[in-house]
């Protein structure tokens, strides 16, 4: 192994490959900031460039750099304008955007950069040590366990619900899953619930729904209540306050980053789970274990709530390389595209890769460290300039936010019907927000709904019914965990109420 690592270091540190890492991170960050262009599309766009390079190590290093850069760029638009362009950064906007509105955009971006750096670096260390062992664990997961894992992911919505809001959050989740059933399902090719509209045959696009649920209502809120936008200013006279993190804040987020690096990586290793579930679960877990005031701050600009998903999604990105490099199984859409690129470059990922092409395998891992350092060095000095975006006058900023929202959903489909769908759903989402319905659970339901149904179908077909839920111990444990996650917040609240009453009576 040591020989392999040394070979990897020598390959990764050549001038050409260092340029590739820097270029990849830069391109990824810049394009990732445009809502609508996620890592998957950016990598797909970069594939011809990678193939032209010819050297598989250099090409893969470039693509991996683009991948990290895109995830970080996506966080930037989530934090600054509440427009998460990628499913993996939806959870980032829950606390990142409120922080930006409180005038802490610089700090939020710094935390995001540090969280991403730590998640990616710890992920790379774990990848080195545990790749072969973890690959065999991931193989033990069957469709039944995946189904249960999705249910656990959905139950995380309890974390987004305030007091007495669990039912509303559950309702929104079900609505999201229902929307995911629109269009052709993977199992059967017949269209469902399309109401005869041909454009709905391929389903509702994720990006349109994400924009309709987050960016559009936020922009409309800014229009309706101009006082909101005034709070978003980052200091006076173009000065960025609060870029640095205080010692106390660092102390607060260190354990979160530590936990989420490991948890995110482990979730990323499982094929199909990826950065999205890792970020939602990371957020949910941290919210559940936070105490008192800390917990109340979640959703209102908590630094823990920002650090958790940011760390987890980057760690999961690294984790998703495990099944790709060791088994040749792509764990997510993005790694599937990477697999295609690798095959085009005459490299077959799989158990033999580490033996046959150790320099490629290790060069990619070493370049992950370098990529993370480059991202940090690149982004920290840029943060004051990126945060200045918020100081654009409202009369210009709002039309541009609306325009980027529309571009996001238009680019993916090249279909103007998407824009009408976006406006309609955005209006409905705004009205729901008026009534205090949480919108995030709906998007989570939508993202996980398709995966949930596919795995449910497979598990049911294999066992000829729903008996898999109690026959497979791992599935049962995960499902029980899901139930606990749903009822835990209400139970804790009830417990606190009893305690308060007890104290009052005791007095």
């Amino acid at each position: 192994m040591l020989e392999g690592i040394l070979a990897g270091v020598t390959t990764a540190l050549t001038l050409q490959n260092l340029i590739m890492v820097v270029a990849g991170c830069l391109i990824g960050t810049l394009i990732g900031m445009l809502p609508g262009l996620g890592p998957m599309s950016i990598i797909a766009i970069m594939i011809p460039v990678a193939i032209k390079i010819g050297d598989p190590s250099a090409a893969l290093i470039l693509l991996a750099g683009v991948y990290y850069g895109a995830i970080f760029g996506g966080s930037t638009s989530s934090i600054l304008i509440n427009a998460p362009g990628v499913a993996g950064t939806v959870a980032t906007s829950f606390d990142g955007y409120p922080m930006a509105r409180q005038g802490k955009a610089g700090k939020a971006l710094t935390i995001a950069a540090i969280g991403s750096f730590a998640g990616g670096t710890v992920g790379a260390v774990l990848l080195m040590g545990f790749a072969p062992a973890l690959a065999s664990v991931a193989l033990l997961f069957h469709s039944a366990e995946y189904f249960a894992l999705m249910v656990v992911g959905l139950s995380a919505i309890a974390a987004f619900a305030g007091s007495g809001q669990v039912a509303k959050a559950l309702m929104m989740t079900v609505l999201g899953v229902m929307l995911a059933t629109v269009g052709e399902s993977a199992q059967f090719n017949a269209p469902r619930f399309t109401m005869g509209i041909q454009d709905l045959q391929s389903g509702i696009s994720f990006i349109t729904l994400a924009m309709a649920l987050f960016a559009l209502p936020e922009a409309l809120y800014l229009v309706l209540n101009p006082a909101r936008s005034n709070t978003g200013k980052d200091g006076e006279g173009g000065e960025i306050k609060d870029l640095r993190i205080t010692r106390e804040e660092a102390k607060k987020i260190t354990p979160v980053i530590g936990r989420q690096s490991i948890q995110g990586f482990l979730i990323g290793v499982m094929p199909g789970a990826g950065a999205t579930i890792a970020s939602f679960l990371g957020y949910a877990v941290e919210r559940n274990i936070a105490k008192g005031e800390d917990q109340k701050e979640f959703g209102k600009g908590s630094i823990k709530g920002l650090a958790a998903p940011e760390t987890a999604n980057n760690a999961a990105c690294t984790g998703s390389f495990v099944p790709l490099l060791t088994l040749g199984i792509p764990g997510s859409g993005t790694t599937a595209i990477l697999l295609g690129a690798l095959i085009a470059l005459n490299v077959t990922p799989g158990p033999r890769l580490m033996v046959d092409n150790p320099s490629i395998f290790w060069a990619v891992i070493i370049s992950m460290y370098i990529g993370n350092v480059v991202l940090l060095i690149l982004n920290l000095p840029l943060i004051p300039y990126i945060a200045k975006l918020l100081q654009i006058p409202r009369n210009y900023l709002i039309p541009f936010i609306l325009f980027f929202t529309m571009m996001g959903s238009y680019i993916g489909q090249n279909n103007a019907t998407e824009l009408l769908l976006l406006t309609g759903m955005g209006l409905v989402a705004t009205i729901m927000r008026f009534a205090g319905f949480p919108l995030a659970p709906m998007l989570i339901g939508f993202i996980l709904g398709q995966l949930l149904e596919d795995n449910f179908a497979r598990a049911m077909s294999l066992t000829d019914g729903v008996s898999f839920m109690w026959e497979r111990p791992m599935t049962l444990i995960l499902l029980i965990l899901a139930v606990v996650l749903i009822f835990l917040p209400s139970f804790r609240q009830q417990l606190a109420m009893w305690r308060r009453r007890g104290v009052a009576e005791g007095d």
Binding site: K168, M171, Y396, G426
Partner: protein
Amino acid sequence: MTLDRAIAGIFVLICVIYGYTAFVTMEAGLLPFERNLTFLPNTMPKWLSILGAFIGLIVIVQSGPKEAGEIDPSEIDVRNLRQYKLGQAISLLVLMVAYALLLRPIGFLAATTLFICLGGYVLGERNYKLMVPIAAVAAFFIWYLVEQVLGIFLRPWPWLVYGGA
């Protein structure tokens, strides 16, 4: 009736229609061999419609009017919508619909420049000398980035340039 109860009520209604489609319409459209399969296209929708209607009813029972003090000042108080800039919000939504309908006929560059300028106008911007060039440059820059650099086709010019197609 409060707005959240009304929304939950509409949701229950949607669940009933969704459930009817799953239980009746889709069931009738199944092919003979499909009837023996364990999992069908309407299996999950059936579960979802029941679960959704049940949760919707719980929301109706639980929801109630909010006290005035409970509303966060940065949120919107729906009982008093008139104090907000409702006209501007509606005009922007209308502009978005117009943008969707005009994007192909008049081309990306014209539609985008118009959208950004009119959006600014609706919000109260009157400095046309600054607004028009910014909108035009931004539209061109985005078009150049998306079509020329990224290779995603965006029709830049009006339909007349393409022979009326």
